[in-house]
């Protein structure tokens, strides 16, 4: 299982993802520069968080034109895995690899804090090691995580079971108070119809070591390992 962590100008969680994959999980991991156009040797690509191109214009809007994105698209079309975290999720939305778009948080403020996530779907390569309905404590850190999709898209995502993570309260209820950013349906993470592309606003790489306060995030990365290593 070989991971590639894509580095865009302004990415700043690239090293954090690399650290978890390489040092915590001991997997073969490279950085992939955004001007590269060959990603064929990787099984899973990680689009990390940060402020690619300063988040200017819209989050992810400029990064999606980076040369590497054509390769990411082909990689996804070939059924290989892509996970976009925070800014990486925003890039996946802008590039159309996932449906919907991001608006500014309803508080209009950047928010960095731990949230509780409820795992809605477990038949994805990214959550298969986790029980359905399980609660994960993972931090968010974003100014634009207010997910929006129009009604028809919401319906089809629902029908295809693409809504993977939702913001929940400590008891697992999906409430407005538990929604940190105004996201439609408390959506925190979604996958595509083929289930090989996953985007989420929370940062699993920040909660993958007990020393940091939670290791719930590592469950997501471990799920990915299982998939590939079973194949």
């Amino acid at each position: 299982m070989k991971f590639g962590v894509v580095v865009f100008p302004g990415s700043n969680c690239d090293y954090d993802c690399y650290h978890v994959l390489k040092h915590v999980l001991g997997r073969d991991t490279d950085f992939v520069w955004h001007k590269d156009s060959d990603v064929s040797k990787y099984d899973c690509l990680v689009l990390p968080g940060g402020f690619s191109y300063g988040d200017y214009l819209r989050t992810g809007a400029i990064a999606r034109f980076s040369p590497v994105m054509d390769a990411v698209r082909r990689h996804a079309e070939a059924g290989k895995l892509v996970i976009g975290i925070c800014n990486g999720f925003q890039i996946l939305l802008e590039s159309g690899l996932l449906p919907g778009a991001m608006l500014r948080n309803k508080s209009l403020k950047f928010i960095c804090k731990y949230v509780t996530l409820r795992v809605e779907e477990t038949d994805t390569p990214f959550t298969r090691r986790i029980a359905k309905g399980a609660l994960l404590r993972i931090p968010i850190a974003h100014g634009e995580g207010n997910y929006y999709a129009e009604d028809a898209v919401m319906e089809s995502m629902h029908k295809n079971r693409q809504i993977v993570l939702r913001y929940a309260d400590a008891d697992g209820w999906i409430t407005d108070e538990a929604n940190p950013n105004g996201s439609r349906g408390n959506i925190a993470g979604i996958c595509n119809e083929k289930r090989n592309v996953f985007g989420l606003m929370p940062h699993p790489e920040r909660s993958s070591e007990a020393e940091l306060g939670s290791s719930d995030g590592v469950k997501i990365f471990r799920s990915i390992l299982d998939v590939a290593e079973a194949n």
């Binding site: 214009l57 819209r58 809007a61 400029i62 034109f65 939305l93 802008e94 919907g100 778009a101 608006l103 500014r104 948080n105 309803k106 209009l108 207010n146 929006y148 999709a149 129009e150 105004g182």
Partner: protein, 79 residues
């Protein structure tokens, strides 16, 4: 040739920023303001080109980059 592009959120999309601005206006004495919608205003210098050409290019720029048509609408003016 110069162009002005206006990018606004679609009517169906909630505008948190507009709402916050409206509340702020109301708190400083402009309570009669009924609605506020925030958008982007982009001025471009297109260099030397013709109007039809510019029109075509602008449309492409908006579709590809300047607006996200999932949530936004755009219009532009040339002069």
């Amino acid at each position: 040739m110069k162009a002005k592009v206006y990018v606004t959120l679609k009517k169906s999309v909630l505008d948190p920023q507009g709402k916050a601005v409206q509340q702020a206006l109301s708190s400083i004495g402009f309570g009669s303001v009924k609605d506020v919608r925030m958008g982007k205003y982009i001025e471009l210098d297109l260099g030397s080109t013709t109007a039809p050409e510019a029109e075509k290019e602008l449309k492409a720029m908006c579709e590809k980059l300047l607006a996200n048509t999932v949530i936004e609408e755009y219009r532009f003016e040339l002069n």
